[in-house]
């Protein structure tokens, strides 16, 4: 069975999925999705509820058949070679819990390792490591029924990594988790990808910060169509909104301070009569120009009190493409039933 080890981790071509409903019209959950995720990449899929994210993940994880088009995971066709795909993937869906209330956390992780043929010593080592990283260590011998929702979700998250998959699908992995737990999970994902350059993560999330922090490339999906796909940086740069540097100075700079700095596109100065300081809002052709700006102040012995960079966020990219924020009205679509 094992053959393809080259080529992209995930590749879809013209992928569509229609759900036939008894009461309503048919729902087109995916409309010709073309996607290519390279091996070793942490790829983000952003979209509101009903956008088609979960439908796409279910097709890629062999839980759903596409209506038309093709999808390959690790080089294998998800419809024709599902078993080969399953050997190489795992899935974590946020908000779900895995395992049985009667089992302890440790037993739950061991249980799922056995479904992937992970040898016992390896399963034991991985379970201990994952419990340590996710903060489940002190709860290792607690029954699942005695865990909080957040803890159960952490177990579900750890379960997904027990098989040490080639490609992991993380569907809203931090949904409903508190800030600290979300941060721990994000740092685990970042570390996992860093330490295993041949592994691939496909992450769907509602949280822009999460996508921005973790993903090398991001696809924005709405109503079953991919609207944009690029690095977070490139997506943000494509916006008409510009990056603004705000510099707080101890004293207003003299006129003509910027003479000779070619990369300044605009500079708006505001003085603070009370403190005697000044605020400069600078739009630069390139980020590196800020070095010359700071050099000019140093040369004139004007202390810089504070420097901040205001970039367009992924949120603004999303709003500009979709026409609404992630938390606003969700697409009236099939995802809830997918």
């Amino acid at each position: 069975m094992s053959a393809p080890t080259k080529g992209p981790a995930i590749e879809t071509a013209g992928l569509t999925r229609t759900f036939h409903t008894r009461r309503e019209r048919d729902v087109l959950a995916l409309r010709g999705v073309d996607l290519r995720v390279e091996r070793g990449e942490c790829f983000g899929l952003l979209g509101p509820n009903g956008a088609g994210k979960s439908t796409l993940i279910k097709i890629l994880t062999t839980l759903l058949l596409p209506t038309s088009g093709s999808a390959r995971v690790a080089g294998f066709d998800v419809a024709k070679e599902p078993l080969a795909v399953r050997h190489r993937i795992n899935l974590v869906s946020g908000g779900d819990s895995s395992g049985y209330g009667i089992l302890t956390v440790r037993e739950t992780l061991h249980l799922f390792a056995r479904f992937y043929g992970v040898p016992w010593p390896e399963a034991k080592r991985r379970a201990e490591e994952l419990m340590e990283i996710t903060g489940l260590g002190p709860k290792a011998d607690t029954r699942m029924s005695g865990l909080s929702t957040g803890m159960k979700q952490k177990v579900n998250f750890a379960r997904g990594f027990m098989s040490d998959p080639e490609i992991i699908f993380l569907d809203e992995p931090t949904l409903g988790l508190d800030v600290e737990a979300s941060r721990a999970i994000r740092s685990f994902i970042a570390r996992w990808v860093r330490e295993r350059p041949d592994r691939t993560v496909l992450l769907t999330t509602h949280y822009m910060v999460e996508a921005d922090e973790l993903c090398w490339r991001v696809a924005i999906i709405d109503h079953g169509k991919i609207l944009a796909l690029d690095t977070p940086r490139a997506l943000k740069r494509a916006l008409p909104e510009e990056t603004v540097f705000v510099v707080h100075l101890a004293a207003p700079p003299p006129a003509g301070w910027d003479a000779g700095i070619a990369g300044i596109e605009s500079a708006i100065q505001q003085t603070h009569p009370g403190t005697g300081g000044a605020e400069l809002r600078l739009t630069l052709r390139e980020d590196q120009v800020i070095g010359e700006v700071l050099g000019a102040f140093r040369h004139r012995e004007i202390p810089v009190l504070d420097l901040t960079k205001h970039e367009p966020s992924l949120e603004s990219v999303f709003v500009s493409l979709v026409g609404r924020g992630l938390d606003e009205a969700d697409a009236p679509d099939a995802e809830a039933s997918a």
């Binding site: 069975m1 094992s2 759900f19 036939h20 279910k58 994880t61 062999t62 839980l63 759903l64 058949l65 078993l83 080969a84 399953r86 050997h87 190489r88 993937i89 795992n90 899935l91 869906s93 779900d96 819990s97 895995s98 395992g99 049985y100 009667i102 089992l103 037993e107 249980l111 799922f112 056995r114 479904f115 992937y116 043929g117 992970v118 379960r159 098989s163 040490d164 998959p165 080639e166 039933s337 997918a338």
Partner: protein
């Protein structure tokens, strides 16, 4: 990274690992959650006692009291097949857990077999408690020298019964939310039709024949005949029961495999495998 098995032996080892893993959940549960043990032994024991006392009050032959004791023990298996086999995939889906099984690289039959094996082992404790209590309290005749033969038929019956449970688990999954009602619908009528507390012959040839599709019916009939001979008032000759049970085992396992494939393919086409509450 976990290595993909390449040889038949590796595939077999992986699937056997899945069978024992899924079975272990049931066994752990049976011993860790003792309240279930009480609930599932006390009530069948009370029903069984009622029948034993009625038979005793009517001065029925002692073998009749033994029928009730054996039937009381076997009820535990039927309840287990209904509540923990047939409806299990449905509940797994409701908890969002079915998809975790379906994305694993092991055969779905391994997962079902694990559920069945675990269920059998866990239920055997309950059945033994009921049987021992019945024998000890009511002093019913129990020829120990016939135990090996009865045990052979009992194991064949269990295989066929859990094969039926495996079919039902796929069927119930496709029926969806009506599973609970369906389970209830099947429970009591089968107590009657399978002759748990009386010789099934009393129901007449037609009803007993149809009830024979549930392996516990002919299994009980045969086990009673092994223990008590003609006094068991058997429905079919023992020589017929063994091959019938063996055939049911093969047919039900085959149908379970087909039902699983159908369930999975239909679910994947219609998106029903992961719909919760759907």
């Amino acid at each position: 990274m976990s290595r993909e098995p390449r040889t038949f032996a590796e595939v077999l080892r992986m699937n056997l690992g899945a069978v024992t893993a899924r079975a272990s959940v049931r066994i752990v549960a049976a011993f860790r959650e003792r309240s279930w043990l009480i609930g599932e032994t006390v009530f069948p024991f009370l029903s069984m006692s009622t029948f034993v006392l009625v038979y005793r009050g009517l001065h029925a032959p002692p073998a009749f009291e033994a029928f009730a004791v054996l039937g009381g023990a076997m009820i535990a298996y039927w309840n287990n097949v209904l509540w923990s086999m047939a409806s299990q995939f449905f509940w797994e889906k409701e908890q969002g857990q079915l998809q975790l099984y379906l994305i694993t690289p092991v055969s779905r039959m391994s997962i079902l077999l694990g559920m069945a094996l675990g269920g059998m082992l866990a239920t055997t404790t309950r059945a033994l408690v009921i049987l021992a209590a019945g024998l000890w309290l009511f002093h019913v005749p129990f020829p120990l020298d016939r135990v090996p033969g009865a045990l052979g038929l009992f194991l064949l019956t269990l295989g066929a019964l859990y094969g039926l449970g495996m079919i039902l688990s796929s069927v119930f999954l496709l029926w969806g939310r009506e599973a609970w009602n369906t389970v209830t619908l099947f429970q009591e009528p089968v107590y009657l039709a399978s002759g748990f507390y009386f010789p099934v012959r009393a129901l007449g040839t037609l009803v007993a024949s149809v009830a024979g599709l549930i392996p516990i019916t002919l299994g009980l009939d045969g086990i009673r005949q092994i223990f008590y001979g003609d006094a068991a008032r058997g429905f079919l000759p023992l020589a017929w029961i063994v091959p019938i049970q063996a055939a049911l085992l093969v047919v039900y396992l085959f149908l379970a495999h087909r039902a699983l494939l159908t369930m999975e393919n239909l679910g994947k086409r219609e998106g029903r495998l992961t719909i919760r509450g759907g």
